[in-house]
Symmetry: C2
Subunit: 247 residues, 2 copies
């Protein structure tokens, strides 16, 4: 039986304020929780049905705080429309930007990506292409929002995120090429994207902020054959990362 | 002042059953409604704030049924978290599959794409690349679901959709190449995608149905450099359509 305090704690993690205060976030579903347990991210506690706990006993030895919950409690705690059998509470990893060398790497920089689904999709794309780091402007959605975590399909475990003001970030990395997804750039099919660089993706509605344009060394455009005004931010990221991977 | 019957009608269009019974669907937001008014799709009625109606008077001459609504009514009728100023009720267009010649065209076929956001994104991708037609298995989400319409960003106006059982569809078009997005296919970067063909995209979780695999003449795979297990269905569609557009 869950205490009121526990329910309150878990509920609080659905909001950014609660996550920041506690330094914790929620992860749901068997597949992702198992990947989480095998990762470096620390799991603080686990809430699962009896059936789930019994069938995963071996993996749970290192977790002190395993709790049996009923289907009803699961439904109450879950952020999903169709709750799965397990919810983990994990510690928000603290990645240190100063320790990262961006040389010889391709890195995604996000300017105000606000839709949690888009942010999650972009993290999944980064993981697919082996892109290790994502720099998010402080105006981006919170990576540890349950909707983002869900949309990453486990990829949040393998990608590092840094929230940092992008002006000063680019100012500090002026020796690295910045590719910007823009409407009037160079034709993507005629551009060779170098192995080292930043890919800057702008906000869903308004694109790259005016004050960041000066850092874009190579504006690139995905050629359009039809009439849609734009592509979804996640889709544009995918197509450019794919062009980078093609080499 | 809206009548109860009108409110009930509009509410009913949020569900597939209501849309099928009435042959109508909802379109929200100034930008998309203006595109709709300029299209061949018939607008049956319009519900908008006084300010909106006044500023768009010239465009509304052909619409018999224009209704002024209050912000409160707008909020009640809207499917959006942040309602915009106008809601149109349009007639579901009836596209006739038998009239379409798939020769010399690239066409997307969707097997059980169930997430409305994914379906909407795929329609937007088709519109970007000038792909005219999408064949949806009857198990796909409904294109006229307000969430799909919203995610297309107006592209539903420029793309034709056909709901048809895919087995018999491919059986009837055996002379046209079917590219299938699969995990163990040919490397996309080493495959030339012909101008004419079908691109078959499978379900978000389970991929292409077993009974459709026999129709796939060329399985293709997007090379992976990292560790994500899969890509989102919309993202995979985009990368393959982009490879097709590159030629």
């Amino acid at each position: 039986m869950l205490t009121k305090a526990t329910v309150k704690l878990l509920q609080s993690l659905k909001d950014k304020k609660g996550r920041q205060e506690q330094g914790l976030f929620l992860v749901e579903g068997t597949k992702t929780v198992l990947e989480l347990l095998a990762s470096k991210i620390e799991v603080k506690s686990l809430f699962a049905t009896q059936v789930w706990l019994t069938s995963h006993q071996q993996l749970l030895k290192s977790i002190d705080d395993c709790n049996t919950i009923t289907d009803k409690e699961l439904k109450q705690l879950s952020c999903l429309v169709t709750p799965q059998q397990v919810i983990a509470v994990a510690k928000i990893p603290q990645y240190q930007l100063s320790k990262i060398d961006f040389k010889n790497k391709f890195t995604i920089a996000l300017d105000t990506i606000q839709d949690p689904g888009n942010l999650g999709t972009i993290i999944r794309i980064a993981d697919w292409y082996g892109i290790e780091n994502i720099i998010c402007s402080p105006t981006c959605a919170d990576v540890f929002n349950p909707k983002v975590i869900q949309a990453t399909m486990g990829s949040f475990i393998r990608v590092n995120f840094f929230y940092h003001e992008l002006n000063s970030f680019f100012e500090a990395h002026k020796n690295i090429m910045v590719y910007g997804a823009l409407m009037n750039g160079e034709n993507l099919y005629q551009t060779k994207i170098s192995k080292e660089g930043f890919l800057l993706i702008g906000n869903e509605g308004s694109g790259i902020s005016d004050d960041l344009l000066k850092y874009v060394s190579k504006p690139i455009t995905i050629p359009k054959l039809g009439k849609a005004e734009s592509l979804n931010a996640g889709v544009a990221t995918a197509i450019i990362c794919d062009a980078w991977a093609r080499g």
